[in-house]
Structures are given as C-alpha cells and as structure tokens.
C-alpha cells in the first residue's frame, strides 16, 4: 500500500514537472506545424513528462483495486541512507566548487582532498595531509603542465 501511495506521489511530481515545462515553453511560443517556434519541442517534452505522470497515477490507482499486486522496483527509501557521510562529502564538494576559481586549483584541491581523505574514526591527520599535498601537486603537474588543461590559478597567478 505504501508502495502504491509512493507511486501516486511520483506521478503527481511528474505532472507538476511536465506542467512547469509546458508553461515555460509557452513563453517562447509554439508556432504552428508549418513553422514551429523555439518552444515547440520543449512543449512536447513537457506533455510527455506530464502524460507519463498521469499514466503512472492511473496504473497505480487501477492496481490499488487489485489485491496484493506489487509494482517492481519502487527504489530504496531515502530514510535508509547514511546521511552523515553523504552530507559531509557533498559539503566538501560544494565548497570545492565555490573555492576553485577564487582560491585556485592547488589550494582548493588540497583543502577538498584533505577533507575527503580524512577518517574521523582513525583521526589520520598526517596521512590525510600527506596524500592531499601529493595529490594536489601531482595532479597539477599532470593536468596543467603536461596535458595543458586550463586550471584556475586563483591567489597564485604565477602558477
């Protein structure tokens, strides 16, 4: 039953997403079949997303009336996720993305790698620091110096 309710909420979500896409598309005009405007295909994609959402609700409602039938693969409940570790990793990634341009590649990479290598249980300060310095410097040499990728210099413009 919980699965079916989840299916219905999923359908509602996609109807809303499809509706938003359609409304946004209307701003750019749909044109006609003879001369389709820039919003034409986006509108069709909105119809597809919303339409499938409606079919999801319909199929879930129909199967609700049938006893004990299950739908495959409702997915894992988000509540079962180890949020602490995920939030910690994502926080470092967001900070890395924000800092990369202003601070520069080497410093931001060192900070991000230090956070990601660090093990809270083992408190491995030394090894995290060592790995972070090694990785940030060696990746700089490989990608910036050898492969000539354009990495940001930030506070060290001469690098």
């Amino acid at each position: 039953m919980v699965e079916k309710k989840r299916g219905i909420s999923e359908g509602i979500l996609w109807i809303v997403v499809g509706g938003v896409i359609c409304i946004l598309s209307l701003q750019y005009g749909l044109g006609s079949f003879r001369a389709p405007a820039p919003g034409f295909v986006a509108f069709l994609s909105g119809i597809l997303v919303g339409g499938i959402g409606a079919i999801m609700i319909l199929s879930q409602s129909l199967s609700m009336s049938r006893a004990k039938e299950t739908t495959p693969g409702g997915g894992q409940a988000i509540s079962a996720v180890p949020w602490g570790r995920l939030t910690y990793t994502m926080a470092f990634l967001i900070a890395y993305a924000i800092l990369m341009d202003p601070v520069g590649y080497i410093v931001s990479t060192f900070l991000a790698m230090f956070g990601l290598f660090f093990d809270w249980k083992k408190k491995n300060w030394f090894w995290s620091g060592f790995f972070s310095i090694t990785v940030s410097l060696s990746s700089y040499v490989v990608f910036e110096v050898w492969l000539r990728c354009q990495l940001p210099h930030g506070i060290f413009p001469w690098w």
Binding site: E10, V17, G18, I21, L24, S25, Y28, S32, F33, R34, A35, P36, A37, P38, G39, F40, V41, A42, L44, S45, G46, L48, V49, I52, G53, P72, G73, G74, G75, Q76, I78, V81, P82, R85, L86, T89, M90, L93, I94, Y96, A97, I98, M100, D101, T109, A112, M113, L116, F117, D119, F131, V135, S139, F143, L147, R148, C149, Q150, L151, P152
Partner: protein, 502 residues
Amino acid sequence: MSVLSALSYGFGIALQPWNLLSCFIGVFIGTLVGVLPGIGPAGAMSLLLPVTFGMSPVTGIIMLAGIYYGTMYGGSTTSILVNIPGEAASIVTCLDGYQMALKGRAGPALGIAAFGSFIAGTGCIIGLIFMTNALAGVALVFGPAEYFSLMVLGLSLVTYLTQGSILRGLVMAGVGLFLSQIGQDVVTGQTRFSFGLRGLIDGVGLVPVIMGLFGISEVLLNIEKLGEHRTMMKTTFRQLFPTWKDWRKSAAPIGRGTIIGFFLGILPGGGALISSFVSYAAEKWFSKHPEKFGKGAIEGVAGPESANNAASTSGFIPLFSLGIPSNVIMALLLGALMIHGLKPGPLMITERPDVFWGTVASMYVGNVMLLMLNLPLIGLWVQVLKVPYRTLFPLILLFCFIGAYSISANAFDLYVMLIFSALGYVLRKKNYECAPLVLAFVLGPMMEKNLRQALILFDGNLSVFVTRPLSLAALVISVLLLLTAVIPFVQKRRREVIAEED
C-alpha cells in the same frame, strides 16, 4: 578506394607514433577504469575529453575509443577475482568467473576472458568495416523525416531495454529532451530557458551532465558501503593460459558471443550489458549441462566476455554511418567528434577517411595491445584492486572536477555537475535509469532540427512521417515496443529478467 586499400591507409594512420601512443594510453586507462569499481567508461571518457582538444581529431578519437573497449577487457578482472564487476557489462561474468576462481581456476577464467575478447573484437572490426560502408550508402537517401523517426526508434529501444520501469524510462527521456532545449534555438538562434544565467546561454554541457549522473552519483552510492571487505584470489602468469579442454569448450561460445554482441551492439540501447546477458542465456540453452552454469562453467565466461567486447565495437556502426549514437558512450563520442569539428554521418567516411579508417585500424591495434597488457599485467591490476575505496573515491571525485572544469574553464560547469550528481543519486536510489535521459539530451537538438525541417519542408503536413516507408516502419516499431511493454505477459517477463539481473 577498395576496402583493403582503405584499411591499409587506416593502418598507416593508426601506426603513426602519436596515434599508437594515444591508443596505448586509451586502452591502458580503459583497462584501469574497467578494473576499478566506481568509475565507468563514460566518466573516464568525459575526464579525458578536454585532453583531446590539443590533439588532432583522429588521435583524440582513437584514445577515447580505446578507453571504451579497454574498459570491457578490464571489467572481467574484478568480476573473476573479487566478485565485483568493475563495469556493468561484466556483471554476468561474476556468476561463473568467480566460481572458477574459488575452485583455483582464476587463471584460465582470466585467460579465456582476454582471448575471447580479442577474438570477438577482431571479428567485429571486420563486420564494422563492411556494415558501416553499406549502411552509410543507404543513409544518403534519408531525409529529415527518416532521421527523426530513427531517433525516436533509438530512444524507444533504449527506454524499452532499461532495467527498471518503462514509464520511468520515458519520463527520463522527456526530461533529457527538455534539458537539450536549454540554450540557443537551432533554427532562430533565440536563447531559451537560460533564466538569465550566462552559463546556460550555450546550453547545459554534456560532460558535466555525464560526470554528475554517472561519475559522482556512483561515488555517492558507493561510499555508503565503505569498509566492505573484498576477498581476492591469487593467480600467476603461468596459470593464465587455458588448457586444450578449456579451448574446446569455449570455441563455440566465443563464436556465438561474437555474433550476438555484434548484432545487439548495433541496436540502440542494445550495448555491451544486454549482449552479455543474452550470450549467457544462449550458452545455458545450448549447453548439454546447463546445471553447471553458475558453478564455474568456462562457457559462462567465454560467451559473455566475447559478447560485450563485440558489442562495444559494433556500437560504432550507427555512429559512423548514420551519426546516431546507440548508447551513452557513443553519445559522448558523438559530442567529442562534433567538438573536433566533425559531423558523423554517411558522408564522414568519404569526407574524413582518415578519422574513420584510422579509428577502425586503431581498434585492431588496440585489441592486440589489450591482449598483451591484460595477461602479463594481471598482477598489477590485482594490486590496484587492493587500494581501499576510502583512498580511491577522493581521487575519482577529483578527476570528475578536473574533467568538468577544463572543458570551458568555467566554475559554472562544476555547479551543473553537482546538481546532476544529486539528481542522479536520487534517481538511481529510486530505480530511475539515467541512460534514456542522456541519450535524449544528446539526440534532442538533432531530433528538433530534423522534426522542424521536415515540417517546414512539407508545409506542416504531419503525414510525412507515416507516408515514407522507413519513417513509418521506425515509428510503428517504436509504438509496438512501448505498447508491448504494458502487456501483462511482457511486463511479467521483464520483471523476471530484471530480478535475475539483480
């Protein structure tokens, strides 16, 4: 130019020092990526895409192609030794490969996987040469209506073959299609859906999307399992060569795997994963002792490993002949070709024979390199596997950041990548497949261009899509595919297959 002279021209290009080096780097990185769980070929190719900007188109494409088929080789090593598939296409190899390893026969399992992959890869290159030429000739008469309908068919097939629900696959395709509309309109040049953000004026970048959906979200899923113990088998080089008896048992599965992989690889959505499962099912069906499958039957390694390599080679056929990618990897290669100023399609073989024949010949060279790499370097790959995931995942994340940033040296791409990594994480948790989204995202601009061209050319007459035979056939097959998926019997079978795959 005859096929033979064209092929010798291709070898002339592939054997040039820079191209040889890029082929070697490609297959080496590909094998490494295949060995390491947590980063797939799409992520690795996205990472190295900016590196190819400084190379000639043919050198760059040779390297990217090498990564792809190299991954297929490397994926078998982890499946056999650790029971963890390094790559999705090697999932089925775990079933018998790991059982062989438990019985002390890891060497012959690794050996037959490498030899089978080499034979299949080589066989498929010959098929690729003839099939691409023939298909390119036919494709010259295609109009926008045919192209549009073929792309619809491609998307339908990918959606049909997704592991989860078809409805979810279709939603993903719809979202991908919308995302492809962000940026400048292909006909009028008007900027759409940019919400005033400068970074969206040229649209959403393919590499950040792929890195987010396949690279970072995979890491986020894997770090949930940090600390899981891996059991490793020991093997020596002397033990790697299969016995005469092993060869006798494996010859037919390799042949069948090559044929299955070749034809399924051409189909949009077919690809390496499905062909390996079909090959396994076929071998079980052909075997006089199906009860031995899952308990260490060498046929269960030889067939699927040959099939996934064959499919990875034949996937190039629709890309080179029609300009239509059959899977996410080919979509990425299409993007790479376009960045290098090339237009894949029927005219590419005549307009840029160096790229086509050079890449084809490099695949053969790459297959030889892989055979030489995989057997003696098994020890190295085993050492690589011993690196704990806690040490590995920050490096994978770093590579994703470098790959996404260096495409246009713009931090905006990093934000896009992070948004898609969160989206990919949630979607995959909820059993949504990201492949239809990416394929629709890549095909979107081409679909839009062809749809609008067809409508303008035929004065808004929608019947153009059903009065031209090829277009009609493609649309009918698409509709039938999607309709059959909602028939209760087919639904039940799909669920059974998905359950078996899980």
